[in-house]
Symmetry: C2
Subunit: 334 residues, 2 copies
């Protein structure tokens, strides 16, 4: 691998000059510039990133931590991040947190050691306080999927309350009055917000909130299925269900079917997220979309803007959920 020194010799200039033409900024005589470029081409020279990083104290890397690399939620986000990070000539260092508080801290530590120029984290088990502490520690950090007051300008998130409202409202608009809810883990803000949206929509429509109609799920198929079973067992006569995410909805669908009921004929079902499988469920799931890829892009732009003070903060931080109508919700004949 050729070094800058070899280039400088071949081009008959100093290494400083080579560095200059390669890194732009400073003016260099046209003749020398060309001679350098020629030498670079001839040698196939590529700067050694380690040496450069050592000298500049910049790695050119953006660290990313998500709960689960293989989850349909986060992979969309990563894709969004990658597209903008790479377009800037920077690269991605990824690591997963596996939704464990300890593991998440470990992942952060792990990436921090690699000295990325910025960090983008989508953490589940970590507390707001820890997040605040970490991001104060020198490394520009953007928080994905969570809103923290103290870090307001570094948070990319979606208004889950609005999303919950949207979903519930859609059901109400279709004539439903008795609406059940399969919530997510109450420890998660997302889950609580969606529930809050559900309650508000109910309230706004003059429907009183009935605790018996909401069960706790876990954002996974099993929880959705179990929750639905409990709901069904209570025999409350609900005509529709809002599941806190698509995966719970898929589980709920199974339970409904096992109970001998049909969607949407007997029970209408609405999910949340709009991951790939929502389209494939039968009936295709009406749901509330989270723009994962766009949020990933925004996160990356925010991270990048923290580096080059140039980019002003015109990055969108708050995203809106949008209703995607498919066929799992039926209008109730009144």
């Amino acid at each position: 691998m050729a070094t800058i020194k070899e280039v400088s010799q071949l081009a008959k200039v100093s290494v400083a000059t080579v560095s200059r033409v390669l890194n732009g900024r400073v003016p260099v005589t046209e003749a020398k510039r060309e001679s350098v470029l020629a030498a670079v081409a001839q040698l196939g020279y590529q700067p050694n990133v380690f040496a450069r990083s050592l000298a500049t104290n910049r790695s050119g890397g953006i660290g990313v931590i998500v709960n689960e690399l293989s989850s349909p939620y986060y992979s969309g986000v990563i894709q969004g991040i990658e597209s903008v990070v790479e377009a800037q000539g920077m690269h991605l260092l990824v690591s997963s947190g596996h939704a464990g508080r300890h593991l998440e801290a470990q992942a952060v530590e792990f990436l921090r050691q690699r000295r990325p120029d910025a960090l983008i984290v989508q953490l589940e088990a970590t507390s707001d306080a820890d997040l605040i502490a970490w991001s104060g520690h020198g490394l520009p950090t953007v928080v994905l999927g969570r809103y923290i007051d103290a870090l307001a300008d570094r948070c990319i998130h979606l208004d889950n309350l609005k999303g919950g409202y949207l979903a519930t409202r859609h059901l109400i608009d279709r004539g439903h009055r008795c609406i059940a809810h399969i919530a997510g883990k109450p420890a998660l803000k997302d889950a609580r917000d969606r529930l809050a949206g559900y309650r508000r929509a109910l309230h706004d429509a003059g429907i009183s909130y009935d605790e018996a109609l909401v069960v706790e799920g876990d954002f996974m198929e099993e929880g959705g299925q179990a929750g639905m079973q409990r709901l069904l067992a209570r025999d409350l006569g609900f005509t529709s269900v809002f599941a806190a995410n698509d995966q719970s909805a898929a589980g709920a669908l199974l339970a409904i079917r096992a109970h001998g009921l049909r969607v949407p004929d007997d029970i209408s079902l609405i999910g949340y997220d709009d991951v790939l499988l929502a389209r494939y469920l039968f009936p295709a799931l009406t749901t509330v979309r989270q723009p994962f890829v766009e949020m990933g892009q925004a996160a990356a732009m925010l991270a990048l803007s923290a580096l080059s003070a140039g980019d002003s903060k015109e990055v969108r931080r708050q995203f809106d959920p949008v209703l995607i109508e498919r066929t799992s919700v039926a209008a109730l004949q009144s």
Copy 2:
């Protein structure tokens, strides 16, 4: 950020000694070792990876390129890779190739500049020849999802012919004799192999191959749907279909349903891959599983073994497809 020199001063030893206790191998007096460790702890010292890389010419990173980061196929693979790479204290540099020949080459170049210690590539558009050329270029490269003779010991792949055989055979075992096939893009070896497996199973069962029963798909929902429509239009009386991957199967399912037929009552359907959505389809899709995560792990182990000559080559390179029975295939009453 503390440097090794500061540690050495605090511990009252030379930097060399600090380096030694931190990097193992060489013997160091217990007293000094402890004093160094204490100093490290006190200062919260963390070696500067750039300086280290510059000196050792090793980055500690493994580069990974897949077609699409957000695809359910590749994200499983990445997860597998990550788990073993990180367990070795190394990190992951990811980039996507977006299935374009030019883009793939670009991604490789991009990662190569970051000087990972090894590369794991899952490429679609790139030719075998290019792959061979690249991997000869100094950087240990493992090829995922493709078998290339010249790179035999660096390829992790699944026997797709066997998989195609398995799927078709399952249908035959259930009494089906007239079996259609929605193939993948013929440009892809995976697709051709699955088709070959289909043909061989037919042949072994004494069923003659009928060209009219196979249509070209594209490994995506649209292709599966369109292909199924064409098949249905030909009115050939087939009782079952083998789709080259789950996504095509999902599309086919839509078309079958739109045609007023039911799965598996009227037509049995089998997919390939066993991605998440297979379980959620209705009816749940019988399919052939590719162990993505395990393959990713194997790829990582192979990459790692190329670095530390220690690990012998006991890494599994060839994986077997396994049939996952769900409910989209019915036995044919004869």
